[in-house]
Subunit: 414 residues, 2 copies
């Protein structure tokens, strides 16, 4: 397999560059998806290319998106049907990219796909088109080497991961699930069997206005925000005391609650009558969003302050949410992935839990498809200017994936 991959480096690099050059910010994914579709058809896969729009999808409790119209944003699943009797696998990669931000901070145009010193630069190259390319290369390698697999391989090229995972949700609801999944998000080659989910909250704290010179006639919502912030800090402390998973050994706060934004009052000499707080709560791999919502809301009701007891903090769950994902660290696919990693790279992989969610959460919790996140991208440059990937790592991961799929899906012919 290594030989085949080495011989196809240039061809694969060209394809990755084309995928990057197409761009694919939200609402503009059609061009790159047509490229992917043509490539999958060339590989001989059954291609399901569709616009997510049905009611079951749009009304699903885990549907989370800033829009309901995906007419310019097709989703794709390419299926390599197995000969039967083997375990199936989902290979999931999102095709959407976040906006490039301030262009002045980029050394090269973000959609140039500029190459230098074995690196390719561009928005989305690390998060996560380089990972997708590794998946595509693994499939092509197995196909062209004449391999037969017993289990099915389902390649997801999905939209909307960056804003809540509606693309993967649509693929799951269309039945494109399997016995397990690989999600090559940018992990710096680390293996994440568990991923932190997250939700956003918005709190409204009320006060009563008055003139600043007689502030004792009012109730300051800013002062009342302080016990609320303390309650959030206490809740974070309590939640993390319960974490005993050794994967979190080196993480100072495995399940952080981040207060990201505060805004209150409108005039220096008026007592502020409202404060809004927005934040993100991390959801543990084994937790559900519902139980975290209940725990958080309970903590807000327990605040010992007469005014707050009479004017409860209003809690809203808004914006994005990412379900946590997990797979048993003793799961067979974990074993295969670790051994193939060591076979290709000559050393054991690092195994950690991720501090952020991926579409692996939806696959795990909605699709009943336990997921491993592992990919060649550079974590620190995802969403940042001068995002890049090391091409060598893309080919290493492609080789690992070929070996993993061959074993998991019970390949024959090599």
């Amino acid at each position: 397999m290594k030989k085949w991959i080495d011989e196809h480096r240039e061809e694969a690099t060209d394809l990755l560059q084309k995928l990057v050059q197409e761009g694919s910010e939200q609402g503009n994914e059609q061009g790159v998806q047509l490229l992917v579709k043509a490539h999958l058809e060339n590989l001989g896969l059954d291609v399901d290319y569709w616009i997510p729009s049905d009611e079951a999808f749009l009304n699903h409790p885990y549907f989370c998106a800033t829009r309901k119209d995906f007419s310019k944003s097709p989703n794709i699943v390419g299926t390599w049907k197995g000969t039967g009797g083997g375990k199936s696998i989902v290979l999931n990669g999102h095709i959407d990219v976040v906006p490039p931000g301030d262009l002045n901070q980029w050394d090269y145009p973000p959609y140039s796909g500029h190459m230098e010193d074995g690196k390719m630069y561009g928005r989305g190259v690390t998060d996560m088109k380089g990972g997708n390319l590794a998946l595509l290369l693994a499939i092509q390698c197995l196909k062209e080497l004449g391999v037969k697999l017993k289990g099915d391989v389902l390649f997801h090229s999905v939209i909307e991961e960056e804003s809540g995972g509606a693309g993967t949700l649509a693929a799951i609801l269309r039945g494109h699930t399997a016995d397990a999944a690989l999600v090559p998000e940018p992990t710096n080659m680390k293996i994440f069997p568990k991923q932190q989910g997250s939700m956003w909250f918005r709190l409204k704290i009320n006060g009563r206005s008055a003139h600043g010179g007689t502030r004792y006639e009012g109730i300051s919502a800013i002062e009342k925000a302080m016990p609320v912030i303390h309650a959030i800090q206490n809740l974070e402390h309590e939640r993390n005391k319960r974490v005993d998973d050794p994967l979190y050994r080196n993480t100072p706060i495995p399940l952080p609650i981040n207060i990201g934004k505060i805004e209150g009052g409108s005039w220096p000499s008026s007592v502020p009558d409202e404060v809004l707080i927005e934040g993100r709560i991390g959801v543990g791999p084994q937790e559900t969003l519902e139980e975290i919502k209940a725990e958080f809301e309970h903590s807000m009701r327990q605040i010992e302050d007469n005014w707050i007891q009479q004017h409860p903090v209003q809690v809203e769950w808004f914006g994005a949410q990412w379900l946590p994902g997990s797979i048993d660290v003793e799961h067979e696919l974990m074993g295969i992935l670790q051994s193939k990693y060591e076979e290709v790279l000559g050393e054991p992989p690092e195994i950690e839990a991720s501090p952020w969610g991926t579409d692996g959460g939806l696959l795990t919790q909605v699709g009943n498809t336990p997921s491993i996140v592992f990919g060649p991208g550079v974590t620190a440059y995802a969403h940042y200017p001068n995002e890049y990937i090391e091409l060598e790592k893309v080919f290493q991961v492609a080789q690992i994936f070929s070996l993993v799929i061959y074993e998991w899906c019970e390949g024959e012919g090599l």
Copy 2:
């Protein structure tokens, strides 16, 4: 005097209504000032009518305004020269009014001067054209009754009180000061020998950004705002422990520090790297702005937090400021005012310290003219929709002022 005033109620009410109907929001004071000028000339006063513009005024350390161009905003001082040898008095009333705000909250148009049940309604009628009218009526009464005064009477019809007092500052710098002053701001007929000054502060608290999922890699500016807020609360506590003036006996917080506004962070799942806090600090009658600035800045430097020690809270003094004002409660003018109040109303006045500043602060500290604030307006409706005044109180105060001026300036002829 009561008889004369009773006979001139209708004429005086007409004048007050005209003053209200003219409006006089910032930048639009010329119309009403021309009315005042004509009235003062009719009374036979020497009228100084000018556009404040000289350098000494614009560059004065207590110049505080949102503009430097007063070309449509004349200032007026009318002087009734005494026969000599008597004590002089400033009668200070600002002519500017705050904007009416949401018109839907007004039962009558704000500049209608609508009258009902002995009340006149309108923006500025209570703050403080009704007080000004009481002053004008007192002067007219004394004049028409043929009184001769030994001391000078200086009637100030000044701009800009609502945004920092530049009109009174201009009058002071032009030499229009006296041995004492009366300022008929809306006090609900209470006498305020002391007035709280105030300043606005803006604090910038720095943090370091990071992703919310790894928030331990950043420093939350919202968390760092909490010891800052505690330091402000402690400073307020310490400052108020020192207040032993019996005038503040019934005031829960004589010198409040109000945190009016907080704003920080921009994204729920990012660690906030900056928080801005804006507020107002009350300045005691005997304090100077400079010593309060120093005390406040010192308290910010004393915060025991390593990060804040290395990244000090940035303090800015911005926007409006009002100097505190005061007169000795044993001052002769205080005695005269109290006795005339009791003579007219049959009961002793309430004497308090005001929780807000007036132009009496500039008169006291810059003009060396100790000032008493006392007027007929309704404190609770100043700056609010449906602002009104009870006309009966305007006439009572006019009578009190006539008696006070006659005694203080050593009148003859009655």
